[in-house]
Each structure stands twice: as structure tokens, then as C-alpha cells.
Symmetry: C2
Subunit: 190 residues, 2 copies
């Protein structure tokens, strides 16, 4: 184990994004990312498995926060209320200090099919966490599946709305607005 | 261009599945697939870009059938009715003669993370086709997004139900049953 490097993880993330944006994802190496952060290559690999993982850091913690929020929701809360509480909890990962990072990250991911594919896997894992937690509360499998898809949709819309250039609201506010729109749209289909 | 090989495409698909199941996906090569089908390697590459594509053949045609069915739906049809017509049209790709292939294919895809990831991309492209076609009918963006997610969910449930070992129904019947369940579940959330 090497010596402790203050904020190494965050420095590596910032360096990676700057290089991905400047040179392109394919032309950037783990060693280059480490160098850009003023760190050694071995420090990079203590924090991330490869350069792709720099962009998908925090996935498990996000899913865990969602699962914990759903487990802690009041027994009498309906599915949409539970989804709203889960989105609130996820807001802890999307504070104002992460906004610029999130915007740059999204631009890199959208520009690369391999990264878009990985992003879909991330969303699928989030939706599965939603569905599993709702089933654990006693919701039927189909209802949990539907609620999870709608929760995932609200999350994606909230994320897109939060990083939009003209947005001034915090993630939880955008998420509540998007969830209300999804709920209204779902009711309007029938 | 080589000489015409009767049913080469189908023979290659059957050979690929047999080898994926027997030797595993990673240990199977395009040349081995061609050999198993009694064909040359160049014939394989006239039909498929690589061994992965053998499993994802027909994706574009499936999306086109969905888009055409939605465009042809009566103007007065509601979103769920339109989704039902799209699922009916997709049934043309899932006839009884494809059932055994679909079962074997699913087992191979589920066993391999790279293939599961590619499958998610396929589902995302299907959902996008749903949403785009519904927007083209004048449905609002959020409602089209919600309907597309629910249509995609019904499709996945229909596919899983159709290939289930104890299922004796055709794809369109399973799809109608699953769509009704999704519709009922969506209404029950509120």
C-alpha cells in the first residue's frame, strides 16, 4: 500500500474528465490520468480498475442509498411516495459541488457507445434495486416492476433536468417535479 | 461474392447456439460456427459482423415492425391500444418455429455479462422506437416516455412468458396478457 494522497480519488476523477474532454476517451490512458492529477499510475489502480470505472464510481453506494430509503419509508406510504423518498435520498449524491462534474461526465458518456452501453447497465441495476425493494415491501411483482420502471424514468429525467444548462434547482426539487410529471402521464394513459 | 448457400443464415444461427451451449460463448469462434454449419468462414462474415451479432440478428426489422404498426394504428386508438397493436406486429418474429431458438439464445445471453449488456442496448433501442412513434402520433414527451417504458416492460414480460418451459400460448396471446397486467398495475399505483 502506497502513502496516503489527499483527495486522490477526486483528483483522479477531475483529471480523467479533463483529458477525456480534451483528447477523447480512447486516447486517454490510466497513466495519463494519474500524471494529470500529479499522482503515480499505481495510485490510479488502487482507486479504479480501469479508466472506464472512473466515470461509474459511486454506483453501488447510490443503489444502497435507494434501497435503504425504501426500506425506511413509512409502512403506509404508497408506491409513488416511496419512489419520491428514494429520489430524495439519491439527491445526496448530486449536490451543487457535483454539478459541473456531472455535466462533463454526461458529455463524455454520450459521445461513446461503449460508455452509453455501460450507462444502460447502471440504469438497469438501479431499476432492479427499485423493484427488489418495492417487492420487499409487499408490492406484487408486476406492480413493483411498473413502479421501478417509472422510478427509473423519473430518475433519468431528474438527472437530465438537473444538469440542463438553464437549471437553477437542486436535484431533489427537479426529481419531485419529474416524478409528478411521470405520475400524471401514467394516469393520463388510461 | 461466394456462391449461394441455401439457408446459410439460419444454419449459422443454429450452429452458433449449439456451440455456445456446448463449449461456451468465449471458446466458440466464427470459423467454428461456420464449420459446424458445413459452411466456410467467408460465408459467416457475409452474414454477420462477428459471433455476437448472430444472437442479435433481426433487431432492426423488429423495431421497424413496431414503428410501422404504431404509424398504422387508428387515429382514435389510445396509448395502450397502440402498444397492443405494436406487440401483435412483433409477434411475427416470435412464431412457434422460433421458440426453441429463443429459449437457447436466452440461456446463452443470460450467462454472459457482455451479452446481457448488449441485450440492454437492444431493449433501449426498442423503447426509443416506441417513444418516438408515440410522439409522432402527437402524444406529449412525458406520456410517450412513460408509455414506451411500459410497452418495453410488457414486451420483456411477454418474451419471458413465451419462452417459459410450461407456456403453451403464442407470443401475441402472452403479450396481450402481460400488457393487461402492466396496465392494471400502473393504474393500481395511484
Amino acid at each position: 500500500m502506497g502513502r496516503w494522497e489527499p483527495n486522490a480519488r477526486e483528483r483522479l476523477q477531475r483529471s480523467a474528465l479533463a483529458l477525456f474532454a480534451e483528447r477523447g476517451y480512447d486516447s486517454t490512458t490510466a497513466a495519463g490520468i494519474a500524471e494529470g492529477a500529479g499522482l503515480g499510475k499505481s495510485t490510479f489502480f488502487r482507486h479504479f480498475a480501469d479508466k472506464r470505472e472512473v466515470l461509474f464510481d459511486g454506483q453501488e453506494q447510490l443503489n444502497e442509498a435507494l434501497v435503504a430509503a425504501i426500506a425506511a419509508a413509512p409502512a403506509e406510504a404508497g408506491p409513488y411516495e416511496v419512489i419520491g423518498l428514494a429520489l430524495d435520498a439519491m439527491g445526496a449524491f448530486f449536490g451543487p459541488e457535483r454539478l459541473e462534474w456531472a455535466r462533463q461526465r454526461q458529455a463524455v458518456v454520450q459521445a461513446h457507445s461503449e460508455l452509453r452501453e455501460r450507462e444502460l447497465l447502471k440504469i438497469a441495476s438501479l431499476t432492479e434495486a427499485f423493484a427488489g425493494s418495492l417487492r420487499a415491501r409487499g408490492l406484487g411483482a408486476t406492480a413493483a416492476g411498473v413502479a421501478a420502471e417509472l422510478g427509473g424514468l423519473a430518475f433519468r429525467a431528474a438527472f437530465a433536468g438537473w444538469i440542463a444548462p438553464d437549471n437553477a434547482l437542486g436535484f431533489p426539487e427537479v426529481a419531485r417535479r419529474e416524478l409528478a410529471a411521470v405520475r400524471e402521464a401514467a394516469a393520463s394513459l388510461d
